[in-house]
């Protein structure tokens, strides 16, 4: 039997006094798209950061392809992408320079111009991003997260700040990835699972409902 692409087993995360995630258990099959739904503070972002290996669980295990997520080897990290609340970009660089750095760190010759064109930023490629709106940063973060064609895509509220065109673009990116890569998306859009034909997982108070 194939190992889940992402698995959380009795996973808890505590920040000081606050228990952000309580004994969460979740398995995401390879190629599956899962949408995490829940109010602010439900634990969606914490779950995604644990799955990405950016946080270590206080208790339990978070795994990618059966490997401890926080110790994921380079080969696994090469095939994954995570876009969080912040753009994870350098504000003093241009859009093109940011994606060129991403390509350099992935050791691949990525089609930077194509990636920028795909998110509607081709004409802003040489502008420093400290002048970008929130929506433009989100588009660029989406380009960064998908440019290297990851097999695991983790997105934390990727629609925030996006206009109608941007949300349509995001839906198209997620729809195109359905079945081709594993996608775990935190969202406040309760219609998103139906639109994508994805599994919905509800969180509340740090628990998976």
């Amino acid at each position: 039997m194939q190992a889940p692409a992402v698995s959380l087993e009795e996973c808890s995360k505590r920040f000081g006094e606050r228990l952000a995630l309580r004994k969460a258990t979740l398995a995401v099959a390879p190629g599956e798209t899962v949408v995490l739904l829940g109010p602010n503070g439900a634990g969606k972002s914490t779950l995604l950061r644990l799955a990405a290996g950016l946080l270590r669980p206080t208790a339990g295990h978070a795994r990618i392809d059966g490997v401890d997520a926080s110790a994921a080897p380079r080969a696994l990290r090469a095939g994954m992408a995570y876009a969080g609340h912040r753009s994870q970009l350098y504000r003093g660089l241009t859009a093109h320079e940011n994606l060129a750095l991403h390509a350099r760190l992935h050791g691949r010759a990525l089609d930077v111009d194509g990636a920028l064109a795909a998110v509607g930023l081709a004409d802003r490629a040489d502008e420093r991003i400290d002048g970008f709106s929130r929506g433009m940063l989100q588009r660029l973060a989406l380009a960064r997260a998908t440019a290297h064609e990851p097999v695991l895509l983790l997105l934390d509220e990727p629609a925030s700040g996006l206009d109608a065109d941007g949300r349509a673009l995001l839906d198209a990116v997620l729809a195109a990835g359905r079945g081709r890569r594993t996608q775990l998306v935190a969202s406040h859009d309760h219609d998103l699972p139906d639109r994508l034909g994805a599994r919905a997982v509800h969180l509340d108070g740090g628990r998976i409902a």
Partner: protein
């Protein structure tokens, strides 16, 4: 690994070239420190080579800490550190790239600070320049290696501005002692008659030890 480190260092140097946030503050600090201490010590009345050497090295180390406080400021702005941590590169590359940038900042600062120090403290009879420059370059390596690792450690702490000097300054004491001894030794007979080679060797050894230590631990120290 080296390629990724160079790419990160290049980004940091480019950002500094565009924003002038770190080096400008470091320059102001080091120039102010040298000028104030010059008047406080009445260098023209003969402060003595050892006091002048100590003054230079104290100014360099405190200025370095000022720069280290912003070592990961660009990554903190939009969470770029997450992207670096998830990139398929050794995490040591993140530390090494940042250390290379810090080394560059220190060199730029010293290009201004050392001639000023020379001008104010020794119109003539200064130390031999080569050992002083060699000691500064070797110390820069050590400060950048150790300081960047400490900056990464202190990154998530609310008391980062206090924690970083507490971590860095004790580790910098051997560098300051060796640097002062090398600078004092570069005065020849006036500096006690012993040469600067011993302290320069010590500085090189310090760099090698902390390069190995930091390289080995950075994978585990960076991140959550």
């Amino acid at each position: 690994m080296i390629g990724a480190a160079l790419a990160i260092a290049r980004v940091k140097l480019l950002l500094e070239l565009r924003r002038r946030e770190v080096v400008f503050a470091m320059l102001l600090f080091v120039v102010a420190t040298i000028v104030i201490v010059h008047f406080a010590l009445r260098a023209d009345a003969g402060a003595g080579p050892r006091a002048a050497a100590g003054m230079l090295w104290a100014a360099v180390v405190f200025t370095a800490v000022l720069g280290l406080l912003r070592a990961f400021a660009a990554e903190a702005e939009e969470g770029a550190l997450d992207a670096l941590l998830l990139a398929p590169v050794d995490r040591a590359a993140i530390w090494l790239g940042s250390a290379l940038a810090q080394f560059g900042f220190l060199v730029v600062v010293e290009l201004v600070a050392v001639p000023l120090w020379w001008l104010l403290f020794f119109q003539e009879d200064g130390p031999a320049p080569v050992p002083v420059i060699a000691a500064l370059l070797l110390a820069n390596v050590g400060i950048a290696l150790v300081g960047t690792l400490a900056a990464a450690l202190a990154l998530g702490a609310r008391t980062r501005d206090v924690l970083l000097p507490v971590l860095v300054l004790p580790l910098a004491i051997p560098l300051v002692l060796a640097g002062v001894t090398a600078t004092y030794g570069a005065f020849g007979e006036k500096g006690g008659g012993f040469g600067p080679l011993g302290p320069l060797g010590f500085l090189a050894l310090y760099d090698l030890i902390f390069l190995a230590l930091a390289w080995g631990t950075s994978e585990h120290l960076l991140g959550d």
